[in-house]
């Protein structure tokens, strides 16, 4: 049976459509793997052991089967899930106030403006990345912590006492900037640790493609972009401060 080459791309189409439709990710990925392998003419199982000579399930020859490949690759890459061993320790620390103490730590950084605070928060987030610590930043830090702190800074700039006195546009921009600061720090900071999933994924995939790399060189080559991410974000937040300062000064003047 000969299938035109181009149909092998169906697997990629399945991934794109499946994830776009928000279907269960694990199911989409495995379906794509099975379909791609079958369209490429690979057997389901390797022709050996209990499967030797079975029709349909195997083919003559020593071609590795799709299911065998799936099991082998998954087992080889289970190192990506090793962090499970650290969960009891982290969970215990959280039970005894890890998050609260982190909050106290961040609150100590008093900054004059919202933008500067967010630059500091992003640096904190990058530091967590370097240490290989995972955070669920938006609910754990942004909403309860940095967001109110940046609002406070804006209120001080505008010389008002409540959020309601701030321009709606400014408040909305501050919210967006808070979420962005978390994303920037998280996305580019996490590749500075050899044990966070980004580096481990690249390590596993490149090994699978026949180009093994070392964890340390991956981290090393992540440094330029991580540095640039901090610089570019700092410029954006500085610019944000400048623009909002004008709006807030207007509020301050109109109240006098």
């Amino acid at each position: 049976m000969h299938i035109p080459e181009i149909f092998k791309l169906l697997g990629i189409a399945i991934v794109i459509v499946g994830l776009a439709l928000r279907l269960r990710t694990t199911l989409v990925v495995v379906t794509a793997a099975l379909v791609t392998g079958l369209l490429a003419g690979l057997p389901l199982f390797t022709n050996q052991g209990v499967f030797e000579g079975l029709p349909y399930l195997t083919q003559a020859g020593s071609q590795e089967g799709i299911i065998n490949m799936l099991g082998r690759a998954f087992a080889e890459n289970r190192l990506m899930t090793l962090f499970i061993l650290t969960l009891p320790a982290i969970g215990l620390a959280e039970r005894y106030g890890l998050q609260e103490q982190s909050a106290r730590f961040i609150r100590r950084f008093k900054a004059a403006t919202a933008g500067r605070l967010l630059i500091i928060y992003q640096l904190f987030r990058v530091l967590m990345g370097i240490l290989g610590i995972r955070l669920n930043g938006h609910p754990a830090f942004v909403r309860p912590l940095t967001y109110p702190m940046t609002l406070g800074a804006a209120e001080a700039t505008a010389r008002v006492k409540t959020v309601d006195s701030l321009p709606v546009k400014t408040v909305e921009k501050i919210k967006a900037a808070n979420a962005a600061s978390e994303n920037y720090g998280n996305f580019y900071g996490q590749n500075l640790s050899p044990v966070l999933p980004g580096i481990l994924l690249v390590y596993g995939v490149m090994k699978g493609l026949g180009y093994p790399v070392s964890l340390w060189s991956l981290v090393k080559f992540a440094i330029p972009i991580a540095t640039l991410s901090v610089v570019i974000a700092a410029i954006q937040f500085w610019w944000f401060d400048r623009k909002e300062a004008k709006r807030l000064a207007a509020v301050s003047e109109s109240r006098q």
Partner: protein, 325 residues
Amino acid sequence: MTFLATITSTLFSLNTVYVMTGIVLFVFAALNLLDRTNKTRFGTATFWLTLALIFALGSVLPTWVLGLMVLLLVAIDGAGRVGRGVASDDEVTMSGQIHAKESKLGNKIFLPALFIPFVTFSFAFVFKRLGLNPNDGALVGLGFSGIVAMVVGLLLTRGTLKEAFQEGRRLNDAMGAVNILPALLASLGVIFTASKIGDLIAQGIHKIIPGQNLFLLIIANCLGMALFTMVMGNSFAAFPVIAAGVLVPLIVKPFGVDPAMVAIVTLTAGSTGTLMTPMAANFNIVPTALLDMKDQYGVIKFQIPFALTIWIMHVLVMWIMIRTL
């Protein structure tokens, strides 16, 4: 290999760490099975038990058995049978703040968490000094760091082992089946490679970009990665495809480039896509809800100028690194 190195590599091996992870997962499975507030406790327990077995026995079971076990994991998750108990749901409280016990530990509470990178790097360092693979050192270190951090945490807080495992399970349950996604995606990459998908995409791109123009190929690589990520909402899912189809056949192989150098920059080129897509709901849409924003796309709009700038930087950094290093 010296005597010391032999001892170290047998006692502190990846296999030991995999077995320990299997044991922790086994406990998580048992705790879920006993949790009557979890409506899917049988499915959930089977899921974590299967993963525990893959972890502990992954090096000895035949690959076809492992493959079928992976299919079982996906089937349980696909049927929506991986869940978590109401009690653990209650304890999550977004930031975990409400249910924390009163403690006067102050900054000492950071100690267990700090032991994790410390032990990890120490292992990598010792492995390197003994002439062993420092990659394995970091991974074995990560495994043992969890144990060390737990012991430190127990001594520090005077909490119980039961508390540690219940809290660990809470964190694990909150992530759920997402835990197995990176390994699953790497497997997808392996099957794509065996199916020669990469060569197919590479041929297609060669029709658009004839010849060996490195700069245009870098643009194709970074653009493809960002666009794929935007459509899928997940740079981890896009990476195996782009790595097999563009990065390796069109840049690494023909130009003899250091694979580590270009691979990690390709991954973060995907992150620029993540910043611009509503498909990455966890990062871009959920926060608008958390912060009660009027514009659902407010976060994305704020991020676009940054994302475009840093995308251009990806192209330039990759080009400069290839040309100079």
